[in-house]
């Protein structure tokens, strides 16, 4: 299976979710700002990376985990990729697209904008980190829901 976590810039919420999925960040507690900053790609992507689908890692069940920033396309992004997949004759039923914006709070928006868009990293990064930590359990819940979905799919596939 392929899981594509997507958000506005591909730098914070999608990266956080993918990192939890892959075990780079813990599920049972809120990580420190330092731990979050150690996650590859966190607060790294710039405008020129938007639209590029990055392989973030492979989970314990061999699922490929990707992240991408798709600006304000949101759920439209899902529809576009599935439409193109249909035309290309791709069986994309093994792909799950997860819009992580629902777990984003105002601190992440403002901090992300300051850091990634305006380049004011010293000001934006602490704000976005604080926002990520505030909503951390939402990300954990989201990832668990994705993992449950993957598990159910694999059980159905095994029948």
């Amino acid at each position: 299976m392929k899981v594509i976590y997507h958000c506005y810039g591909g730098a914070h919420s999608s990266v956080t979710a993918a990192a939890i999925h892959l075990g780079y960040l813990p599920e049972n507690r809120t990580p420190s700002a330092k731990e979050i900053m150690q996650v590859p790609l966190y607060d790294k992507h710039t405008d020129s990376d938007h639209g590029k689908i990055f392989l973030f890692g492979i989970d314990e069940h061999n699922n490929e985990i990707y992240v991408v920033g798709c600006r304000s396309l949101g759920d439209t992004f899902d529809s576009i990729l599935r439409g193109i997949g249909d035309i290309a004759g791709i069986d994309h039923s093994d792909t799950i697209l997860v819009n992580t914006l629902s777990a984003v709070n105002w601190k992440m928006r403002i901090g992300g904008y300051l850091s990634r868009r305006l380049g004011i990293i010293a000001l934006g990064r602490p704000i976005v980190l604080s926002g990520t930590r505030s909503n951390y359990q939402k990300f954990v819940k989201m990832v668990n829901s994705v993992k449950n979905h993957l598990y159910n799919k694999s059980v159905q596939g095994g029948k």
Partner: protein, 149 residues
């Protein structure tokens, strides 16, 4: 080849270019308002955003589509290329064409009025704006056709 004409809402500029490509609209003169308004799907905001809408096949059996990409054409193009790569499908099967930038704000205003239920006024503004900019649509489609030769 799959040719996908893109614009922000997928129902105006992209539909016009698809219409010119498929010879539903003229390329040697400016289309009349009636011709534009009679295009199937033109201004149909019920079409879900993000749906790759099939319009028809051209003379060379290329499939022609329209797509709403908001203001993120470049993002969508990159993502599609990468998505196809995940499945080892060549992106050469697809040509994404961006709508020419139209300086007139009336197409946007007309679209909003249409959304608010002022269909007649909205359509009139959009169509007038399209007719004023019609040569730029024809030019773009001709560039596409030249690439296909």
């Amino acid at each position: 080849m799959n040719i996908i004409y893109c614009c922000s809402d997928g129902v105006y500029s992209s539909r016009i270019m698809a219409g010119i490509h498929l010879r539903q609209l003229p390329s040697d003169k400016i289309a009349s308002s009636k011709e534009i308004l009679s295009l199937q799907g033109f201004g149909n905001k019920k079409l879900k955003s993000g749906v790759v809408q099939y319009v028809g096949d051209d003379f060379y059996l290329n499939s022609i589509f329209t797509l709403a990409v908001k203001n993120d054409f470049k993002i969508v193009r990159k993502a599609i290329q990468d998505f196809l790569k995940l499945y080892s499908v060549s992106a050469d099967k697809f040509m994404l064409v961006e709508s020419p930038k139209i300086s007139s704000p009336w197409i946007t205003v007309g679209g909003y009025l249409h959304d608010m239920g002022f269909f007649s006024t909205g359509n009139k503004l959009v169509v007038n704006s399209i007719r004023r900019n019609y040569p730029s649509f024809v030019k773009k489609v001709k560039e596409v056709l030249a690439q296909l030769d």
